[in-house]
């Protein structure tokens, strides 16, 4: 998983360079050979050879559909293809659509709750798994397992656990003589069930990234801290937390994006209900695109999700320029 992720990052990173950014690291490498045209040509060819396949894949499967979605969002749709230009009408409709705002608010709340919690739990577990915990390999596998299984399958397991009438949790509560929790019929409980399942799915990934971060910290630093009389908490607070900063930054962005993308868990577990209490932007876009068959409006929602995520990432990136020096 992590190898795959880093491969993707690298390819998209290079792709960004192609887009006209100021000359970055690879370009400087090539200028070292300036003056010898054949050599420069060879390296340009090599670069194109390495970049080409990725650029083609990204172009066909990412940028083309993205551009297309943007086009569709300015058109009117009859369910079987766009039928005419309407300018910004779909976006104007968004502004006055209360369900859109409710879904946007739910998405924001979901993100604000899940991101810090999954980061904290991921770091906690990583610290635990990095210690001399007996059977830690098994625990690591178990914690990571939900990430490997299809999202729909994990959400169905969520239904088995949280179904209000037949779910395991309410059965246990009933057996224990306690009041059951209205997991599907009450908004807050439904939202909580989605968050719990999301955390279950996500902490494994965060744990693995943090684990990699932790393993690159030199044990001598901790030794020095202990000699200085630092307590375990102080070591964690003043050594571990800052030193896994680059991992935190990476995970923060990834988790925010995952949270904005949340779909399968909600689609399967609550369908956006009760009422609109678990409706998020992607489920609302899906509903418009594939139930109401208004794909133009759905595309407009998709573009809004894209812009929000992009702005967040850009802001984070600007605010964290110093991060490269820490890692």
């Amino acid at each position: 998983m992590s190898a795959d992720t880093s491969a993707r990052e690298e390819s998209t990173g290079e792709a960004a360079d192609e887009g006209g950014d100021p000359p970055a690291f690879p370009a400087r490498t090539y200028t070292a050979g300036a003056g010898r045209a054949p050599a420069r040509q060879r390296s340009t060819c090599a670069a194109a050879g390495f970049l080409g396949p990725n650029l083609i894949l990204l172009g066909v499967f990412l940028f083309l559909p993205l551009g297309w979605a943007l086009l569709i969002s300015f058109q009117e749709s009859n369910g079987f293809g766009a039928s005419g230009w309407v300018g910004l009408a779909n976006y104007q409709r968004l502004v006055t659509d209360p369900t859109f705002w409710q879904s946007a608010l739910n998405t924001a709340v979901f993100t604000v709750i899940t991101v810090p919690l999954s980061l904290a739990l991921g770091l906690g577990l990583a610290v635990l798994m990095n210690s001399v915990l007996p059977g830690r390999r098994i625990f690591r596998t178990l914690v990571y397992l939900p990430m490997v299984i299809s999202g729909i399958a994990t959400a169905l397991m969520g239904v088995l656990l949280f179904d209000e009438v037949t779910g395991i949790l309410n059965k246990l509560l009933r057996e224990g003589g306690l009041a059951t929790i209205p997991w599907q019929s009450q908004g807050t409980a439904a939202f909580a069930s989605i968050i719990l399942v999301t955390l279950w799915i996500r902490v494994g990934f965060n744990m693995v990234i943090y684990l990699a971060g932790l393993q690159s910290i030199s044990p001598e630093l901790y030794e020095a801290a202990r000699l200085e009389g630092a307590s375990s908490w102080q070591q964690f607070r003043y050594l571990t937390v800052p030193l896994v900063g680059p991992s935190t930054f990476f995970l923060l962005i990834m988790n925010v994006i995952y949270s904005f993308q949340v779909f399968d868990t909600i689609f399967v577990m609550t369908g956006g209900g009760p009422g609109r209490s678990t409706s998020v932007l992607v489920t609302y876009a899906y509903e418009n695109g594939f139930v109401t068959r208004d794909q133009s409006y759905a595309a407009a929602i998709g573009i809004v999700i894209f812009l929000i995520t992009l702005i967040f990432t850009a802001v984070q990136w600007k605010g964290n320029r110093s991060r490269d020096d820490v890692g």
Binding site: S6, E9, E10, S11, T12, G13, A16, A24, L58, L62, L66, N78, G79, F80, T99, V159, D163, E164, V165, T166, P182, Q184, S185, Q186, I209, A212, G213, S216, P246, S247, F249, F250, M254, I257, Q261, V268, T270, G271, G272, G273, G275, L281, A285, G289, F290, V291, R293, A298, A299, I301, G302, I303, F306, T309, T313, W317, N320, R321, R323, G327
Partner: protein, 440 residues
Amino acid sequence: MTISRRQILGGAGFLAAAAALNGCAGFSGGGGNGGGGGDGGDGGQNTLTFTTWGSPAEEEGFRRGIDAFKAANSGVDVQLNLVPYEQIFTNIDAQLQAGTAPDLFRVDYGTIGAYSSQDQLLDLSSYVDTAAAEEFLPAMWQAVQYDGKPYGVPHQTDTSALVYRTDLFEQAGITNVPDSLASAWTWDEFRQVAEQLRGSIPGDLYPFVYNWQLGGSTRWLSWLFQAGGRLFDEDLTGSAIESDAGRKALEFTQGFFTDGLVPPSSSVKSSTYADDAFSAGTTAMAFVGNFVLPGLDENITDFEWSATYLPRDERGACDLGGNALVATKNARNPELAAEFLKFMTRPDQMSDFCARAMELPTLNSLVGTELDYQTRPDIAGIFVEQATTLEPSDVEQLTSPAMATINPKLRDELEAAFTQGRPVEETLANIAAAVDEAAG
């Protein structure tokens, strides 16, 4: 671990784009069946691709029908592509847009209008003569029409009735279970039965569950029709739900939730089907379609159950279940596709399919005859009789092309009324607005 800004930005950009695409371009592949038969030449012309969903019993029925069609037409092949019900129309829509749709597919009567009104289906006028059309029940033939032209054949129909646990009925002392359509419970009697059950069964069980979940929200209209109301006005160009009947139906059904007569999690947005809740033993009664009887028969092992008629108010009414078979407008061999549709609705084929899958026929000639139902033949007749309470005026409304747009709104409004306590008047006004907008 060192991660550069560029790597992070690149990775983030990738995911951000994927997030946007998730919302707007998430077509799932349809298994490539559309192009699967396009092997060119004569072989391609003699091959039909047919996409459907189906229970195991329905699948068996379709396979037998296809085998019989192939035996009767040498050199012809029909490729069956089974997909889950939840995805079929998403797939079909995407395939229609991409020009890779199958030649034939199965569609429910509530959705057929969304395709026929957008000129996506093969007009069967030149393939089906008047005599053949008259063989179908008028209401069912009406269900496949758009603008006076047939765009499919009514393959089967189904409807809901009320199943109940005999042990819990005995325990509650309920003995007056209706045994004919004429003696079906009135709404008041039904409500009394539900309250009687509420008093006798444990708190974690519920008197009944209604089958309006997972795309079934139009089944709420049965209550409206029973109360003597209409969703559309007479000429189907506006709403007629803001009426005494509309208020009565909504108040009555909202009471199911406020008075604890149905599981609170069984509203229109629930992800659990009514028959699953009944199979799990959590309700004493359930409104279910006849097509789930094979599943109930197989899954329920620890209690006895039987069935009775739907309650009635001003009149009896039921939902229009069942499906048509249609050919797409760009079917490669329209003659052969039409031939297949006619073959599948021949009396022998239809009776075999319906008997196997516990479904109701759509041919006049089969309505009076006793089909050889293979599951619970003792209660199959209840569904057959119940289906006769459906009136042509109901069908006309249920199959309006506007229903495709109204459905999601109806679902939202009912959900708000049932689980969020939205007042009856406001809910009706919102539904009326949605109907006016879609039909006007």
